[in-house]
Symmetry: D2
Subunit: 359 residues, 4 copies
């Protein structure tokens, strides 16, 4: 329970700080025989990496991943897989001035209070840089699920600030998501959202947003009542991502406004399968996948690092002013898309293995 | 990972079905020396039990709890505590007609698909009756946290359907919550909400709602980054409750609409402590408690059991009409209040013990 | 990690004290569809219960087990199974004199030191009465493994004090084991051993012994390197049984005296399977089952309760004399046989489910 | 449960194969504030490494460890610590001939059967090279326990083949253990044992042995009944080490020969503490540390790699002769000493943190 592992049968353990030697993950429980090389992982890392577009932080990090164990002659062996990325763009002198100050809405203060010391370079362990490890591990899970069962996992930007994009989940594809730098499949709305982010960025400010997730072709029967409902484990996974403040599945918070007669999903028979006409449940009934699409939303707060002066307290217990800081993401959601996919894949493979074993 | 345990150091394992012999929980890891008797637990169970008011299901269940191990001469011994409630009002013949049919938005279909058989009496294991076990275990956790650290845990109804109650968290008390049968501390709005629920009930329908949670006087430093953030574990716990479709902490989904400069919580010094002026973070920074109030919302869908005919499919793979069913809750939120409190307490004590040990 | 659960996918959580209300276990993760009633469990409990023969403690306990959840219409449902035995023969007044004294080699002192209080009636939680819960859970595991894979799990007495019985594992059967009250399949040696135990009993003393375990028809491939080797998990399980001080698998401690050329098990082909000519490995290679018989030994110390005066310390921190105590087992091994079987079955089913899933 | 993690609050996850890119470990849950550098770890690795003496394998591996995360300005931060050793002496061509053959009493066959493929270079994941990760993690645990509580953990060679050394535990020191290449504190017997190992080595054979373990100044109260008894967790840890076939604590297997009146450890008062006159219990009562010395034995089988021709089966399902192989340890026990120490330390710190928390 020390907090750096997630999953049971497909268990990831991440390590590394923003400016330490390296960031990475051990994946324990990957089924043997899966073809795997760095080329299967790097594309998702590139979707997460800083500096990828004008609406991302200008920091440059290569996030180049190496597989250092668990793969032999191009296939997983069933033994633990170490994925490692060396830290390179380490201008930690940038952070010297942050050594003694608690940045508002960052984890500086709570880490110091909890651990009695902290790595103050670039948020240390609390840095979103840690999420590259999740993306790397998730790429393996996605590949396995896709090849073994045809399960498809997608995420996309649905909201930025007050702007909301209508997205048709039935026609959603990776291509539509990747067609713009925002990863919003509604091209027209994406233009507005990008403009908003640029405006916010130019003001030295940041803004929040929502990432939607979609899982297609999930077999019926995944999820372990009563505490490891598929919905609960997905929520756990998403709420563990940096800056996430909310999670909803299916009808979510809006569904609370409905009557049962509106919300209930009627069963019927289609193509010799039991299906539901609507899908307010979001593909999960009683915590178990129903075979319908699983869809959910993840709320990201505005990035705490902004280019504005802020009042705060320092480690000497004095009230001080924090000067406008350096490089930051004006809006985290485009880079969060592969993280959401990764965590969804990790939850799913864990439940899949629970049901199917490793044979 | 079989799904019926929650927590690590304070671990609960629940068991029992709606109409089997009994429902209960083993609490493993309760610190020794806590004064404990059934009288500490029963009041919360009474807040959860059916039949308690005109807006709850008319089913009568006593939910009388017995402590069968782990307590000696009125004190916990550090050994596992078995809490057991015998099932009494078992009119399982009521459910005979449900044997062969998958009720819309219930777990009948997914349980059957997953396990190959199911206890069809009153939803079996998927019944909300199981939550009495959580409430019983949570009562122990609440008592420990209150006595040991003065930590206060409250939940209340904030929304029913489209109706939303303004609630002042700073003045919230258990008395204000319990002053009406809805458990909404806004007395005026509660009247409206109760009227709405009665209207819905009279139509044979149900309606969703939102339960708010509040944790006061939580010490700084609880929560285990990066996957067992306090916020993530709370979300996991809440999303494991029957009928829950969403969870948000602090500013939640609304916070995504804000700019960083609006959302960031400035640190300042008050009464010789580092505090924040605002609390959009909801008392958790980087997954670790900051000492500010922790507050969150939990979305409950409308109850799936309604007194209306519905189309569905039966176990013979035929499309059929399900006749209006028997007793049900028109809105689950008032009875969900103690469940939310219980799960919050169980999350908190687990993190507390992680940090403080059992000495 | 609170210590009262064992296993991962087939997880048991035991509860109860010697003289509290009841003793039992929640079994979480039993595959659905297994035919199960109390009649499948009671026979093993009867093999464990006190008072069953002249060489067991004269205490009478019925150990009558009830299934209170998880079974519907005679089959397991995949939900947690509560097995409960009420405590009956509770002459706790017998133990009043033990309230203030630490019995030598019992857990009184360490429980008091660890928890700050203890249930002093009949050893409380440290009583071997808790093992009835393990036997009950193990009976389910044994039944599943037997029916699903034909796996056979046997245990037997091989040593009492200095006396050692030659046992031919290839011809071992439950009938041979149960043919005498000692559960030693070497009938001639059993007579000597029983005589020794009677002699020891008449002297008011106790004596140690060894229980052997045998697992037949275990499929190749169970065991999770590197820390959950099948051998390591078996050892963990056995060393968690009361009074156990040692565990060895295959050649064990004697094997340390051999040369590699003597100890290595040559592979050859027999009946179209890869087999080994010898089996010094005890059916486990690199922590994974090889398909050969798994066999092991478990060392039980002499029972600490004896009918002799002993020097000790009381809870007032005074050196005192403990008078000869009441009813006890002169030798625990015959009653330990079903406990060893049970724990072996629980280890095995856990690894089996890990590999095969629940489908 | 995927098998490559050990511990709960101080959790290690090892990775790496004999000839892959690297071997190492993530340590999650190390308390913050501990001074730590590679210099604290390397000495124990040097005690484990091959090529260190004439009785060890002549293979040369540097086993140079790097700390790549979790340490900042010379202190642990409470975040995961990655310890990594690059593989260097990789003459994997040596192993080409082993690609298609199952070496007797090695894990080749069971890995192939379990995973469907295997890294055949130098035993792959089943190689004892993995244990360097345990030694590295254990060095951290040992340092913490020593600095925080003065707990001392020692291991030593007590038996080689039929030769057995009398060892006085009360006067045992690291210096006495390290005074010879065998790590046997009985200098006279060590000479004989070394001669025996040389003889065995010259015959191209190997021989087994026993490593003793000793824990001094363990506080009273560590261990979690009923399944995580300190003795059971120690056994679990030791039986997970390569080549281990047995574990005993306190009087162990010999204790089974005694009467209760001989075996029981009388309590008395010494220096204002409750102590026992004898210590057959081995420092653990009811699974909880009693404050007396904890001592135990670990049985290592003879190394399976020998310089003699052996009959076996190949991956084409043919009976073949395996020619005498290359470099090997004639007796593993001297190099196993630091592994036993490491695993003991990891068990102990886990229980220590459970009781004391991280504050």
């Amino acid at each position: 329970m020390a907090g750096n592992s997630f999953g049971n049968l497909f268990k990831i353990t991440t390590f590394g700080e923003s400016h330490g030697g390296s960031v990475g993950v051990v994946v324990d429980g990957c089924p043997p025989g899966l073809e795997l090389s760095e080329a299967d992982i790097q594309p998702d890392l590139d979707r997460r990496k800083p500096g990828q577009s004008k609406i991302a932080t200008p920091r440059k990090e290569q996030d180049e991943i190496s597989i250092l164990s668990g793969v032999f002659e191009g296939r997983t062996t069933g033994t633990p897989i170490l994925l490692l990325a060396k830290n390179k763009d380490m201008r930690s002198e940038d952070y010297n001035k942050l050594k003694g100050v608690y940045r508002p809405s960052h984890a500086d203060f709570t880490y110091q209070a909890k651990y009695g010391l902290r790595d103050w370079r670039g948020s240390g362990r609390a840095s979103a840089r840690e999420t590259l490890a999740r993306v790397a591990a998730g790429a393996i899970a996605k590949k396995f699920l896709k090849e073994k069962e045809g399960i498809e996992i997608l995420a996309y930007v649905s909201k930025v600030g007050e702007l909301s994009a209508d997205v048709d989940l039935t026609s959603l594809t990776l291509e539509k998501i990747e067609q713009n730098i925002l990863r919003c499949p509604n091209e027209k709305k994406a233009v507005e959202m990008i403009a908003l982010i640029e405006e916010v960025r130019d003001q030295g400010d940041s803004i929040g947003g929502v990432v939607g997730g979609l899982i297609r072709k999930c077999p019926v029967g995944l999820g372990e009542p009563v505490f490891n409902k598929l919905s609960a484990d997905l929520g756990h996974a998403m709420l563990g991502i940096n800056a996430v403040k909310g999670f909803e599945i299916g009808s979510g918070f809006n569904g609370t406004k409905l009557r049962g007669s509106q919300h209930n999903d009627e069963f019927y028979i289609k193509d010799d399968k039991i299906r539901t006409k609507t899908n307010n449940s979001g593909g999960v009934l009683g915590g178990i996948s129903s075979g319908e699409d699983i869809y959910f939303n993840v709320a990201f707060k505005p990035v705490s690092t902004i280019m504005k002066n802020q009042k705060t307290v320092n480690t000497n217990f004095e009230e001080v002013e924090l000067k406008a800081e350096g490089r930051h993401d004006p809006c985290v959601v485009p880079r969060a898309v592969p993280i959401v996919e990764a965590m969804a894949a990790i939850v799913l493979i864990d439940h899949y293995l629970m049901r199917n074993g490793y044979l």
